[in-house]
């Protein structure tokens, strides 16, 4: 479905990705973990061509997207929905207009259908009836959920979630975890979930990839990840910094 090969990317003098390779199979959920700033968001942006790697390749359905010009990427992007870490709502539009946007771009023009689907999507993220609000009036967690609604409303085959539960209270987090699971089970959505949240990981993951020092340090089943004796993974899982008072 999606595969990266030896992805590398630098910003100025800082090499964020050295050689990231992993693959995502049809219908599976891959959880990507790693310390803040290790390049998880950067990896996601490469998968839909928002960033171009310095070297390496990204394959979607077996075809390289790295050399594609912006206009040719539209087809790939319609298949893949992305929830941005910052939610990236359109500030000038109400919540309802934000959600209508992907639908209109896909050529849905029936206002009744649009309104029904907006209501449905808001229901799914526990924000029913919030169509009229402007993004500036929402809390961080609500923005995240509206962003999630905007991502799923176009019914993409693949969803990339960038920290879907960060900043949410535990109850809302739990309902988002269930939503991810539901989309995965019922609609057979393939997904990548970037998260720091162990609960999300255990709830959703088929496999885990751990990014460390610009590489996919570990890729494997969640149980193996949890029980790993590798000091890097163990420190991360148990939240040890190595500092002493």
């Amino acid at each position: 479905m999606i595969e990266t090969r030896d992805l590398s990317k630098s910003f100025g003098p800082v090499q964020v990705l050295r050689s990231v390779s992993f693959s995502l199979h049809d219908g599976e959920t891959l959880v990507v973990m790693g310390r803040s700033g290790c390049g998880k968001s950067v990896v996601l942006k490469h998968l839909i061509g928002l960033m171009k790697p310095d070297s390496g390749d990204v394959l979607v359905d077996g075809e390289s997207i790295v050399g594609l010009p912006e206009r040719k990427l539209t087809d790939v992007r319609r298949k893949i929905g992305m929830l941005f870490q910052s939610a990236a709502l359109f500030d000038s539009m109400s919540v309802g207009e934000n959600l209508a946007f992907p639908l209109r771009e896909q050529g849905v023009h029936d206002e009744k259908e649009i309104n029904t689907r907006i209501a449905e999507a808001l229901e799914m993220v526990d924000l029913p009836g919030e169509e009229e609000k402007m993004p500036a009036d929402l809390s961080g967690g609500m923005r995240k959920r509206v962003g999630l609604a905007r991502t799923i409303i176009g019914r993409p085959r693949v969803i990339l979630y960038d920290e879907p539960t960060t900043g949410l209270d535990p109850v809302t987090s739990d309902s988002i975890n269930h939503l991810i699971r539901r989309l995965q089970r019922r609609l057979r959505v393939t997904s990548i979930v970037v998260t720091h949240d162990m609960k999300t990981a255990f709830h959703c993951a088929d496999r885990v990839t751990f990014l460390h020092e610009g590489r996919a340090h570990f890729t494997g089943p969640i149980a193996e990840f949890r029980d790993s004796t590798d000091p890097v993974l163990a420190d991360f899982i148990q939240g040890r910094s190595g500092d002493t008072d």
């Binding site: 942006k45 839909i48 928002l50 912006e70 206009r71 990427l73 539209t74 992007r77 319609r78 893949i80 929905g81 992305m82 941005f84 910052s86 990236a88 709502l89 359109f90 500030d91 946007f101 992907p102 771009e105 176009g154």
Partner: protein, 261 residues
């Protein structure tokens, strides 16, 4: 010294190249992607509404002071009835387009750079792209169309107001004889002068929209970057307008020679 000049020439050419690239993208977009007319009309309203006050005040007061100065100078030669025609020619050919351009660069150019810059640093532009929408199609083309339509209208408006204010200052206020004033005006001001004003306005609008959009799209560094983008957009597009005005004056004089009609 020479290396400094060399470096500046290089960075100027580099910048012009980047803006030209955006221009090319925009032309391509107009042909390959459907034009979003609804957004273009919204932008016309924005640009038009935002610019009314400055254009009216600029046109009216510049025309008025220009006419008054001319009157004081020409009265000694008994040529005060030419005040209207000289004011109109100066306003149409030079002052109205340049001043309107500078004013619109300040209001609209800054707003465009700030809006697009904010969208850039808050990942809204990435969000557009992720939904399969090309930022040039969605952001730059509607603003370009709006500017191409609005700027000639705004320049025309400034010209009209300068005509009216020059008349009011000269005839009722300073007592120039009305028939002489009007005869000179009809004799010396031609349709070519109006064309020059509109052509210059059109081209200045294009300079503003591409410089401002470019500044917005290349914004980085979060809020600090968003603070810088409008300032840069205003400074660069104003300088570009002044330089272009000089070149255009000569070019337009070849194609639309002064004094003929």
């Amino acid at each position: 010294m020479f290396t400094a000049i060399g470096r500046n020439t290089f960075s100027f050419l580099g910048y012009a190249g980047e803006v030209a690239q955006l221009f090319r993208d925009t032309v391509i977009s107009m042909f390959v992607a459907p034009i979003r007319w609804r957004l273009a009309f919204q932008q016309i309203v924005e640009i038009g509404a935002r610019s009314q006050l400055v254009v009216i005040v600029t046109g009216a007061f510049t025309g008025a002071v220009f006419a008054a100065q001319l009157f004081f100078q020409l009265r000694g030669f008994g040529m005060e009835s030419t005040v209207g025609s000289v004011t109109a020619v100066a306003m149409f050919r030079e002052l109205a387009p340049a001043l309107t351009g500078l004013m619109v660069a300040g209001r609209v150019g800054a707003a465009i750079a700030a809006e697009i810059g904010t969208m850039k640093v808050t990942e809204q532009i990435d969000a557009l792209r992720s939904l399969g929408v090309h930022p040039t199609d969605y952001l730059v083309v509607p603003r370009t169309i709006a500017m191409m339509i609005s700027m000639p209208l705004l320049v025309g408006e400034a010209c009209m107001l300068s005509l009216i204010s020059a008349y009011l200052v000269s005839v009722p206020l300073l007592g120039v004889s009305e028939p002489h004033y009007l005869r000179n005006l009809y004799q010396w001001v031609t349709l070519f002068d109006v064309y020059k004003a509109l052509i210059k306005g059109f081209l200045f609008g294009i300079i503003i929209v591409f410089v401002a959009s470019h500044e917005g799209l290349k914004t980085t560094n979060g809020a600090a970057g968003v603070g810088k983008a409008p300032t840069e957009a205003v400074v660069i597009s104003s300088l570009a307008i002044l330089a272009a005005n000089f070149i255009l004056t000569f070019l337009l004089n070849i194609f639309l020679p002064a004094g003929s009609s």
